[in-house]
């Protein structure tokens, strides 16, 4: 299996340098090593997905990029600058936003206030208003519910709000943590269609972490497979979708049953 086509950093300025480059990242929870030397690239304007079962370390990887966790080793290079170990608000200011697993909206604040908080690091009012219009153009339901408390939205609407709130930053890259989590297959399709439009129309660069390999590989240009804190596969999304391991362990049950929801969560880790 082909591994990452990492370019050494001395080639900074090289046309092919990715917007986000991760090299040999290691992150610990106390003595537990959750990320075990991960390297990956997210080129500008592309969608990259990281697939992995429960506990593979996907969320930890995103948290390390966002500065919520500090890595023990390795580098995270964004747009030519090393950002590992910086404070979360410094990282957000660079245009990196994480849409967290399980939405994590501010439940007692209105939809509008939640969106305003997405633009917390911005101060240009015109720019914020424009970002809000962009969000409403992708998620018209949010415009209808502007004054509703976020905690009273349905799960799908909360996911849309979480993505919309992330868009308020006008980010250069979005890190999406299992956007399909807890959604019906139909709603998952709908959300991923909006993500595709965001990528194609607005040129949004995305790193999407997923257990639902079918929708994620359909959206992504490139995919990685993560297992117990390591990248074990890296290939174009089409080739991954066609690969036998993925077929068997991630797609094999994709058409089975209609219960959708957390089906991927139940799959046992493969090795």
């Amino acid at each position: 299996m082909p591994l990452t086509t990492a370019k050494p950093l001395s080639e900074a300025g090289d046309q092919t340098q990715a917007l986000l480059e991760i090299r040999n990242l290691e992150t610990f929870y106390g003595p537990i090593m959750a990320i075990r030397g991960v390297s990956l690239d997210v080129p500008e304007g592309k969608v990259v997905t990281v697939l992995g079962a429960n506990g593979a370390g996907k969320t930890t990887l995103l948290k390390t990029i966002s500065g919520i966790m500090d890595p023990e080793k390795g580098r995270i290079v964004f747009d030519g600058h090393e950002i590992q170990g910086r404070e979360p608000h410094q990282i957000v200011r660079r245009g990196i936003v994480q849409v967290p697993e399980g939405r994590e909206v501010f439940p007692l604040l209105t939809v509008d206030e939640n969106l305003s908080l997405g633009a917390y690091t911005k101060s240009n009012r015109a720019e914020i208003a424009q970002a809000r219009e962009l969000v409403f153009s992708y998620f018209p339901i949010l415009a209808e519910r502007r004054q509703q408390e976020a905690g009273t939205l349905s799960g799908g609407q909360q996911q849309m709000l979480a993505i919309g709130r992330g868009l308020m930053l006008k980010p250069r890259i979005m890190l999406l943590d299992e956007p399909s989590l807890g959604l019906s297959p139909l709603l998952t399709q709908e959300i991923f269609e909006i993500l595709r439009r965001l990528n194609q129309e607005a040129g949004m660069t995305m790193l999407v972490v997923e257990q639902n390999a079918a929708v994620a590989l359909d959206l992504a240009n490139h995919g990685y497979v993560m297992e117990l804190g390591r990248i074990v596969m890296s290939d174009t999304a089409e080739r991954l979708a066609a690969s036998e391991d993925i077929q068997r362990f991630y797609l094999g049950h994709a058409n089975e049953g209609a219960r959708g929801e957390r089906r991927w969560k139940k799959r046992k880790t493969w090795r």
Partner: protein
């Protein structure tokens, strides 16, 4: 008419309780810890004001001293958070609570050393004396306290609804992790919450000292304010104020109409009744989970 008199003094005391209770709730919402020194912050605020204004100390003009006192108390609250509490980050909440109890002792000790243990009066323009309608005596200071509290409440409301920092404080208290994801510097915002709580306590102290003499044990009314916060629903800012008013109003009526001694326990009796019938308080912002 006597009722009006009792109501007025009850409401004025209730405003002070309510403002201290507000500080409890602010800090609880931001850090999930209860600051048991909140009453002592009130007392310290009163003494800082006395130190700035009274002729035997610095003798500054009252209106110059107010912003100075707020600034000093706000800075103390902020510094306490970033220098001492930050060290306990990740520790059990109990550790933080015990630390705040210790802080209360320290504040009382230091205030005693600086200002002595005798009760002192603040030279306050709000201490306006009484007006008399026949046999009814209304205290103008009580009315001033109520007016100031109403204005402060409206300002705080505007602050939380309209300003970026106010919104960030709400966000960080509702979902701290998500606040980090939004690029909110959560720790600084929490420091600002401590500053705000200390400044509100300072205003409570100025009002308290405008109504009568203060000594270093004045902070113990924080216990009543704590009961008020629980009655209102520990997590609701309007609830804290309402709880304060309820406790404040109950006291004078209880001491007027109940046998001697009962008035002391009236607020706590109410506390127990509320906890039995509405365990989340009267004005709690919780969606109660069934089961």
């Amino acid at each position: 008419m006597e009722i009006l008199q009792l109501l007025l003094s009850g409401l004025a005391n209730g405003c002070v309780y309510g403002l201290i209770a507000l500080g409890f709730v602010l800090i609880y919402k931001a850090t999930e810890a209860v600051n048991f020194a909140q009453g002592d912050f009130m007392m310290l605020g009163a003494f800082v004001m006395i130190g700035l204004v009274n002729p035997q100390f610095m003798g500054l003009s009252f209106w110059l001293a107010v912003p100075l006192a707020l600034l000093i108390m706000g800075a103390l609250g902020y510094l306490f958070d970033i220098t001492i509490l930050r060290q306990l980050f990740g520790q059990n909440q109990i550790a933080i609570v015990i630390l705040t109890i210790a802080l209360g002792f320290v504040i009382r000790f230091v205030a005693g050393v600086i200002w002595g243990h005798e009760p002192l009066n603040l030279h306050s323009p709000l201490a306006l004396g009484d007006v008399r309608f026949g046999e009814v005596v209304l205290s103008l200071a009580d009315i001033a306290v109520i007016v100031v509290t109403v204005i402060l409440t409206m300002l705080l409301w505007q602050f939380f609804q309209r300003t970026k920092l106010g919104l960030a404080m709400q966000a960080a208290s509702q979902n701290q992790m998500a606040a980090y994801y939004m690029g909110i510097p959560v720790k600084r915002v929490q420091g600002a919450v401590w500053a705000l709580a200390a400044a509100v306590a300072c205003i409570a102290g100025i009002l308290y000292a405008s109504k009568g003499a203060v000594d270093v044990s004045a902070g113990f009314i924080g216990i009543k304010a704590f009961a008020a916060a629980v009655i209102g629903g520990f997590g609701s800012l309007p609830g804290a104020l309402m709880g304060g008013l309820i406790v404040g109003v109950i006291e004078p009526f209880a001491s007027r109409y109940l046998p001697p001694g009962y008035s002391q326990i009236a607020p706590y009796a109410l506390l127990i009744i509320v906890l039995v019938f509405r365990p989340h308080g009267l004005f709690a912002q919780v969606r109660t989970k069934k089961v």
